[in-house]
């Protein structure tokens, strides 16, 4: 029974990596799109704010990149990009679990960061000179996406060293 299950270890690990790229990527796409919609409203009224608005719009785009990094590391660890791909069922499950922080936090933080970025665009609209302060608010949300990325990187690397 376990031998049959072990054939599916690689499947679980690939699912984890794919979701790590997919879910934060979708969230970032939605968030950047929403930020772009709000940004277009700002630019309609004041085109000179394009550079500042663009930075705010792109802030929630990083979660997609973090997801991509985790997926890439996972693929390289499980042999999809070359090397040994002998992954037991339990190890596959652990890879999947290691990807979960960036999957969940990546999705949530991208959406929340987008809302904060749009709120900051409101500050920019009324007080363009306060761009530094306006950028801090959405940037703070980034902290949690970075923490989740770090944990997923450590976990993926750690799982590869476990001999199960």
């Amino acid at each position: 029974m376990m031998e049959i299950l072990n054939d599916y270890g690689i499947v679980l690990a690939v699912i984890g990596a794919a979701l790590a790229a997919l879910i934060p990527g979708i969230a970032s796409a939605k968030a950047v799109s929403k930020g772009g919609i709000a940004g277009a409203g700002i630019i309609t009224e004041n085109p000179s704010l394009f550079g500042k608005v663009l930075i705010l719009q792109l802030l929630p785009g990083t979660q997609g990149i973090y997801g991509l990094i985790i997926a890439f590391i996972t693929f390289s660890q499980i042999g999809v990009l070359g090397g040994s791909n002998d992954i037991s069922f339990v190890k596959g499950l652990l890879y999947l679990a290691a990807c979960i922080p960036i999957i969940i936090v990546g999705y949530t933080s991208a959406i929340r960061q987008c809302n904060a970025a749009i709120s900051s665009m409101g500050i920019l609209a009324k007080r363009p000179d306060q761009f530094g302060k306006a950028m801090i608010f959405p940037a703070m949300v980034e902290t949690y996406a970075i923490l989740a990325t770090l944990i997923s990187i450590l976990a993926v690397n750690g799982v590869s060293g476990i001999n199960i």
């Binding site: 929403k34 919609i37 709000a38 940004g39 277009a40 409203g41 700002i42 309609t44 009224e45 004041n46 809302n115 749009i118 709120s119 665009m121 409101g122 609209a125 009324k126």
Partner: protein, 343 residues
């Protein structure tokens, strides 16, 4: 006059256009643009500048310098009408489905219906009595009344239109005709506002109907109206118990004040004791109080509705100020009548 805002799509159809989550995303762009437009609203310093003007002409010059009015506008009413027009043009540009704002326009439909019935009754054509910002083209209302074919109007208007028409043409009782249509308008505003699912619009509808009920009750005491009149004129709303209000009105002015002191309108009682104008000012300031948090809300329809109400408040304040300057009313008296500003 052609109504540019005429739009058949309405929540009367049973579809709630506000509750859809995607609607919030839909307004993100519009709210971002509104943030810039809010910068152009008159603030306290502008009102002070207007107050320091010697006369109406100087005030108009100040407003023109601020970008008010359109080319060719001469009088204050033309400038104010242009500003209202600009507001609706902007909202039409920002929100494709203007039916989101019908709660604010339904009263104008009933005003136009009243005007049309009275014109038909008197057999004359007085110009400029119709309000252009409404949900039904005034020409359709005029046609419906002239041809006595109320099937041209939305179903929810037909019964009240027919009743008011019959009262006006058979009895000539303009006051009763007004009561029927005013109540129908309030009922419609209330149901539309509550069905919106938008808290701000719902609050607006509640205050609008409650304030109208309070004014009717006060006037009925002053003019000695009976219970039947009150039952015919008052509209149901959540914040007032109509039965208690009717009983209070029948018992006298003090009883109305006593009853209102137990409601959410207790703060308005001193204004009510002062005068009807003071109460109207209190209501307008209450609306500003409701909409003020929307300055910091980047999502949903609410900031747009708040902007619309802020513009209406601004236009009303400027009208009061210009009227005072035109009639050489002292600055102190003008200040007493001015409304609080949104920004």
């Amino acid at each position: 006059m052609k109504n540019k805002l005429h739009n058949s799509n309405s929540s009367d159809s049973g579809i709630n256009p506000y509750s859809d989550v995607t609607v919030n995303n839909q307004f993100v762009n519009a709210v971002a643009r509104i943030r810039f437009k809010e910068l152009e609203l008159l603030g306290k310093t502008d009102i002070e500048s207007l107050m320091s003007c010697e006369n109406e002409k100087e005030c108009l010059q100040y407003l023109t310098d601020k970008g008010w009015g359109k080319e060719g506008d001469q009088t204050s009413e033309q400038i104010l009408a242009s500003e209202r027009e600009k507001t609706w043009e902007l909202l039409k540009e920002l929100v494709k489905d203007i039916s989101f704002f019908h709660t604010f326009l339904l009263g104008n439909d009933y005003h136009n219906l009243k005007a049309a019935i009275k014109q038909v009754y008197k057999g004359n054509d007085t110009p400029n009595v119709y309000i252009p910002n409404c949900t039904i083209d005034p020409d359709i209302i005029i046609q419906a009344v002239k041809e006595h074919d109320f099937s041209l109007l939305p179903e929810v208007m037909r019964e009240a239109a027919e009743e008011a028409y019959q009262i006006q043409l058979r009895t000539g009782d303009s006051q009763l005709c007004d009561i029927v249509l005013d109540k129908a308008a309030l009922d419609r505003i209330y149901s539309h506002g509550k069905a919106s699912g938008n808290e701000l619009i719902s609050q607006y509808a509640e205050l609008k109907v409650a304030a109208a009920n309070i004014n009717i009750a006060i006037r009925s005491v002053k003019t000695g109206k009976d219970e039947e009149f009150l039952r015919r004129a008052l509209s149901e709303c959540e914040s007032l118990n109509i039965e208690t209000l009717i009983q209070s009105a029948l018992d006298g002015m003090d009883e109305i004040f006593n009853y209102l002191s137990t409601t959410v309108y207790s703060d308005g009682v001193p204004a009510l004791k002062e005068s009807a104008q003071a109460f109207e000012r209190w209501c307008d300031n209450k609306i500003i109080e409701y909409i003020r948090p929307q300055k910091y809300n980047p999502f949903s329809l609410s900031p747009l509705a708040a902007y619309l109400l802020a513009r209406e408040n601004e236009i009303k304040t400027v009208r009061i100020l210009l009227s005072g300057k035109r009639n050489d009313i002292s600055d102190d008296i003008i200040r007493e009548r001015l409304r609080e500003m949104y920004v």
